[in-house]
C-alpha cells in the first residue's frame, strides 16, 4: 500500500484525465443521486451524502441481456463484456457490499456476467467524514473509512485528498496520474486517522448484532413480524436500493422470430416473488416477506457465508415511504429474544 496526496487545485485535471477511462461518479438528478458517466473533461463534485441508487447497479445492472437468439440461428449470442470502468467516490459501505455480493456470485457457480464486470471495474472510494442520519456501519463490521473491496481509498483532508492505493488495479490508476500526486506526509495519514475517528463518533445509531443470527430462527412465529410488517407497502424500495440485495428473475422477451433472455432485479418484498405455478404462495403475506428480508440478511447469509449481509448504509430506513426502520426491527428482535 502506498499513500499519495492530491491537491484540490489539481482535482479537475485528475478527474479530467480519468474521464478517458470510462469514469463514473455520483451526480444529483432531480431527487435522485446516482452514478453517471463522466464526459471527457467534465469535473466531478463529491459533495454531499451517499447515492440513492447504490453502485451495485453498474456491476449488476437492473436489467441485463444474458444472450440474444433468433430463429434459424443455432448459437445464441451473449453480449460482450469487455469495457473497463472506474467508479469514483464509492462509499466504504457500498464497496464492502460488493465484496459480500461477490461471495454469492462465486458460490456454487461462477456467474460470468457479474464477475467479469467486477474484474473490469476499479473502485476509488471516498471515506465518509460526515456520516448521515441512518448510517450504522460500525454495528455490522464496517467503518466510515473501511478499505474492503476498494482499490483506492480517498479521504478529504480539506485542502487535498489523501489517496491510499490498495491494489494493483489501484496502482494502475495512480500510475496514470502520477504527475499530479505527491508522496503523502506522515501528518496526512495522522489527520486521516483523526477524521476517521471523528466520523465514527458521529454515527448516531447502533445495534449489537451479537446473538441476532441465532435468535432469528427461534422468533419465526413471533408476533413482532406482524407488527413490523403491518405498515409495509410491499414495494421494492428497500431491496432494489439495498447494496447487498442481489435477487434476480430471468425471463425471455420474444418478438416475432427473435428475442433475448434477460435478467432483471427481483424483490422478495413482492408477492409474485415466491408464487408457485399452481398459484400457491409459501409467503402469502407481507409478514412472511418482511421476515424473510431480515432473516436473509441477518441469518441465512450468515449461515452460508459467515457474514451479515448488511453493511449499515441505512438506505432502507431512509428511503422507506412508511418509516419501516431496520434499526427499529433489529432492536425489536433483540428485545423479543
Amino acid at each position: 500500500m502506498s499513500a499519495k496526496l492530491l491537491h484540490k487545485e489539481k482535482w479537475s485535471e485528475f478527474t479530467g484525465r480519468l474521464s478517458g477511462k470510462n469514469l463514473w461518479a455520483p451526480a444529483v438528478q432531480g431527487e435522485v443521486k446516482k452514478f453517471v458517466p463522466v464526459a471527457e473533461g467534465e469535473t466531478v463534485s463529491l459533495e454531499g451524502g451517499n447515492t440513492t441508487v447504490p453502485p451495485k447497479a453498474l456491476i449488476f445492472p437492473q436489467t441485463e441481456t444474458l444472450y440474444r437468439f433468433s430463429r434459424g440461428e443455432e448459437e445464441p449470442e451473449p453480449p460482450a463484456i469487455d469495457e473497463e470502468m472506474v467508479l469514483l467516490g464509492v462509499r466504504p459501505c457500498d464497496a464492502r457490499a460488493m465484496a459480500l455480493v461477490e461471495k454469492l456470485f462465486r458460490w456454487d457457480f461462477d456467474d460470468p456476467y457479474y464477475l467479469k464486470r467486477r474484474e473490469l471495474t476499479t473502485l476509488i472510494g471516498l471515506a465518509c467524514n460526515e456520516p448521515e442520519i441512518n448510517c450504522f456501519c460500525p454495528s455490522v463490521g464496517g467503518s466510515p473509512a473501511s478499505t474492503e473491496g476498494l482499490d483506492i481509498l480517498m479521504t478529504d483532508l480539506g485542502e487535498s485528498y489523501l489517496l491510499e492505493v490498495l491494489t494493483d488495479k489501484g496502482k494502475a490508476i495512480a500510475g496514470a496520474v502520477e504527475d499530479l500526486l505527491e508522496e503523502a506526509p506522515a501528518e496526512a495519514l495522522k489527520q486521516k486517522e483523526k477524521l476517521a475517528e471523528e466520523a465514527l463518533a458521529g454515527i448516531k445509531w447502533s445495534v449489537d448484532p451479537e446473538g441476532i443470527p441465532e435468535a432469528l430462527p427461534q422468533l419465526w412465529e413471533d408476533p413482532l413480524w406482524e407488527r413490523v410488517s403491518a405498515p409495509c407497502l410491499g414495494c421494492g424500495i428497500c431491496t432494489y436500493l439495498c447494496p447487498t440485495c442481489y435477487c434476480f428473475d430471468i425471463q425471455d422477451e420474444v418478438e416475432g422470430s427473435a428475442g433475448r433472455r434477460c435478467r432483471s432485479w427481483d424483490s422478495c418484498m413482492f408477492a409474485e416473488y415466491t408464487v408457485h405455478t399452481s398459484g400457491h404462495n409459501p409467503r402469502p403475506s407481507r409478514r412472511e416477506r418482511t421476515r424473510n428480508r431480515i432473516n436473509h440478511k441477518y441469518s441465512y447469509f450468515v449461515d452460508k457465508f459467515g457474514e451479515i449481509a448488511c453493511v449499515g448504509c441505512g438506505r432502507c430506513s431512509s428511503l422507506c415511504p412508511v418509516n419501516i426502520d431496520l434499526i427499529d426491527i433489529l432492536r425489536q428482535v433483540k428485545a423479543a429474544q
Partner: protein, 143 residues
C-alpha cells in the same frame, strides 16, 4: 423521407360493424391504402387501452379503433364505454407527447365501405405526416 416511409397502422375493428364495413370495401373493390393491419375484436368496448400501448411498443406508427355508431352496438352499449375510455387514453397519450395524429377512432357501420376507405386514407395521411414512431419501440430501446 415521406416517400419511403410507409406507415404501419394497426386497426382494431369491431366484428359487427367496421370489420363488416371493411369487408364490404373489399368486396366492392374499393381501393384504399394497404398500410393497415386489421385485428378483429368482438366490440370496440373490448379494446383494452393497453392494446394500443402495446401496438406502439411493438412497432406500430399509428392505431385505428373503429366500431358501430352509437346506438347500433351489437351489445347495446359497448361502444359507449369505448368512447369514454378511449377519449381518456387519447388525452393521456397526447399529454405524454405522443402525436395525436397517431390515434384515430371512428364509427363505421357494416354498410359504410366508403367511409372505411376515407378513415384509412385520413389515418395514413396523418401518420405519414407525423412520421415514424420508433422512440417507444421495444426493440429500439431495450434490445
Amino acid at each position: 423521407m415521406s416517400e419511403q416511409f410507409r406507415p404501419n397502422i394497426v386497426a382494431f375493428l369491431c366484428n359487427w360493424c367496421t370489420y363488416a364495413g371493411a369487408d364490404l370495401a373489399g368486396t366492392s373493390r374499393v381501393q384504399y391504402p394497404a398500410n393497415v393491419k386489421i385485428i378483429r375484436v368482438m366490440c370496440s368496448g373490448r379494446v383494452n387501452p393497453l392494446y394500443v400501448v402495446n401496438a406502439l411498443q411493438q412497432g406500430a406508427d399509428g392505431v385505428i379503433i373503429s366500431g358501430c355508431h352509437p346506438g347500433d352496438c351489437h351489445y347495446m352499449e359497448g361502444n359507449f364505454y369505448a368512447r369514454r375510455r378511449l377519449k381518456l387514453l387519447k388525452e393521456l397519450l397526447e399529454f405524454t407527447g405522443v402525436d395525436p395524429r397517431r390515434f384515430t377512432m371512428s364509427w363505421v357501420s357494416a354498410s359504410e365501405g366508403h367511409k372505411w376507405k376515407e378513415v384509412v386514407e385520413k389515418a395514413v395521411e396523418d401518420v405519414r405526416a407525423a412520421g415514424p414512431f420508433d422512440q417507444f419501440q421495444r426493440r429500439q430501446i431495450g434490445w
